[in-house]
Amino acid sequence: MSTDIRIKKGLDIKLVGEADQTTTKLPLSSVYAIKPENFHGITPKLLAKEKTEVKAGEALFYSKADERILFPSPVSGEVVEVVRGAKRKILEIKILADTSQKYQDFGKKDVSKMTPEEIKTHLLASGCWPFIKRRPYDILAKPDETPKAIFVSAYGSAPLAADYGYVLNGKDAELQAAVTALNKLTTGKVHVCANGNSLFTSLNDVEFHKISGPHPAGNVSTQIAKIDPINKGEVVWVVSPQDLVVIGELLLTGKFNAQRIVALTGSQFSSPKYVTALPGIKIKDVVTDNLKSGNHRIISGNVLSGDKVNEEGYLGYYDNQITAIPEGDDYELFGWLVPVFNKISTSRALIFSWMFPNKKYDLNTNTNGEHRAFVVTGAYEEVFPLEIYPMQLLKSCLYKDLDEMEALGAYEVAPEDFALTEFICTSKQPHQQIIREGLDLMIEEIG
């Protein structure tokens, strides 16, 4: 059965540098790094000390809160360095990759014959658990919970996002195995949303929804709100399609192969395209020879909610996109006064992006103004499709009123849902950070 969902509110930020649909296979890089901060709210406990040899899929560390949750190494090699910060917090675990990969063998499984408990244990043991996130709070799923539904968004609506139709091509068998497994873990259904035709339509054990409209139509929160909204006390799990492929391959072959297709996007790439890479790969090894000269910002992820990295940094654990855009650290004479043709806005305050809805822009990282108190009203609602009052929720997070946050719908949101309101914010407030801190406070106080 399929249902159509149309999103009206939102904004597509059209940028220069869409990835060409050609995939380059990258050679194995030398050093990979896993950053525990990619897994929000996790306190890592190290399993693989320095000088340990690990295979791909072997655990590097586990979560202090639940020692069953293992975080695997994407490559086989030797742990060469554990970078620590203040209070000996683990920042990075660096692994020197072997020239030929050795995989930990977790054994082939026939998913249809497994019980939910067996699937859970298998995913935990094989290091696939961190692929599953939960709402509320947008953190890793807890193994003891049973979600009311599992959501997969196969529609990348964020700026320059990887085209799931392209990157998932030919992965039917893996996806089928993964959704069959996940379907056993929920009392409800596995919902998949995609824009137009998708190979998910032919899969069993999924509820397919066709979704259309501007960003954030591809955000899971938008889809959850339309299909099965989260109420207080309910839990929903979220998995990305790329990670489903990894889970599927593990079930089918017994190997943990985190290989994914990563989109290189943005105006600063001389040839934007797709490459295959493992999470944790050094950015330099991916972007080398492909960057234009100049001062640019490299982002692991998309321009709205990705992480700032530099060439010495590493690809984030969940990211399937690297974006490079120009830095905007320059002044602009009377920039607040002159008509603007090369930037985007939802207002028409002498900014003419409304006249060219299909133009692609080359935005830089300038804030285009200074940080202010909230002043303008009514603008956020135009790009915010959830039935939530965005400014009121943000303010309740700022003054830390837990009851109000709960009442206004904090259980239904993730920081990424506030990326668009942050983009258009006239007062340049850090919305995603405000929401993240608000959710963290709720985890601490309410749990």
Binding site: D329, D330, Y331, A349, G378, T426, Q432
Partner: protein
Amino acid sequence: MGLKQNLHNLKEKYKGTKMAPAFGAIHTFLYTPNDTTHSGTHVKSADDLKRTMNIVIMALIPTLIFGMFNTGYQHFLALGEIDAVSGGFFSAEFWSLTNFYFGFIKILPLIVISYGVGLGVEFIFATIKGHEVEEGYLVTGMLVPLIVPIDIPIWMLVVAVVFGVVIGKEVFGGTGMNILNPALTIRAFLFFAYPTWMSGDKVWVQGAVERAGTADAISGETILGSLAQSQPMHHSLSDMFFGFVPGSIGETSTLLIILGGLFLIFTKIGSWRIMLSAIIGALVMGFIFNSVVDADIITSGSKFYGLMNLEFWQHLLIGGFAFGIVFMATDPVTGSQTNRGKWIYGFLIGFFSILIRVFNPAYPEGVMLAILLMNVFAPTIDHYVVQSNVKRRMKRLKAKTA
């Protein structure tokens, strides 16, 4: 490089000092800053608060220029030196350089004082409290000269601006935190502190005050003033629409205010919901009063008769109503912040404007008090609008658990 580089060096030099906000205000006026994003979205939309405020100022400029012409026109007309307009909006009698020059000389000091004093207070507070100089006053400073009578003494304006900025805004924490519209706070202060100056028939035409009591006395009664005393109107509808009537400097030309309002709506800076619902509210109230008169409940002997008997739609043309709802009621900080709340907020402003106008013959300009009143109630309106969203969420939960 030149100026840009020099300013950059100065900025680095002042960083962290008490002077930083004051310097920053001037610097960012010239150049948008070189700040880049750190966390969150890596790109940002092009508008900032300065641009937003600037759009409002642009919408105000036509009314300001018209006000300059009108000041001269009303003055010379009252003295009998020129003839009344005869040829529609572009009448030569009105658009003469003599009129403009006369008004320009009278109004320029008001603008300079308004901005000078107001921004001065802002700079002082920003320096003491160490926050950035905020843009809110850019619009307030332009609104203030437009809503005062032409003959207001300078010292009065200075006192009022200081009061309005400090009490109306800074004590709450600056732009974005205030409860009352600062420009209206200034106007209300003037009204309550110097009532004889702010009402009556003397202040609306330049020169009327000093000539009062002499053989050359001229009358500068506003339309509202005459109606409140149940005197017949001596201005045509087209005069009222185009704005060739006495009144506060910027409020007379309904035509230009409508154009400004349309510009604000088009740029999405002003809320069309507030403007439209305020008009509806005023029409409803005006219609109720018309019906009361038609039903002979109020007869021509009553002191309310003059304004009650005014055709309901003509209320929109006279006084400061149009100016108030386009430029004052739409202030996002002091107005209602939710879209549904804006409908209620605007409607009540229109409704109360006409109500106060009719029942307050001593000072028949109701829109100022109506907006200030609704400023106070806007958070309450928002509260109930937001509660309905909360209730819906609770209901969904109950339906689920039941």
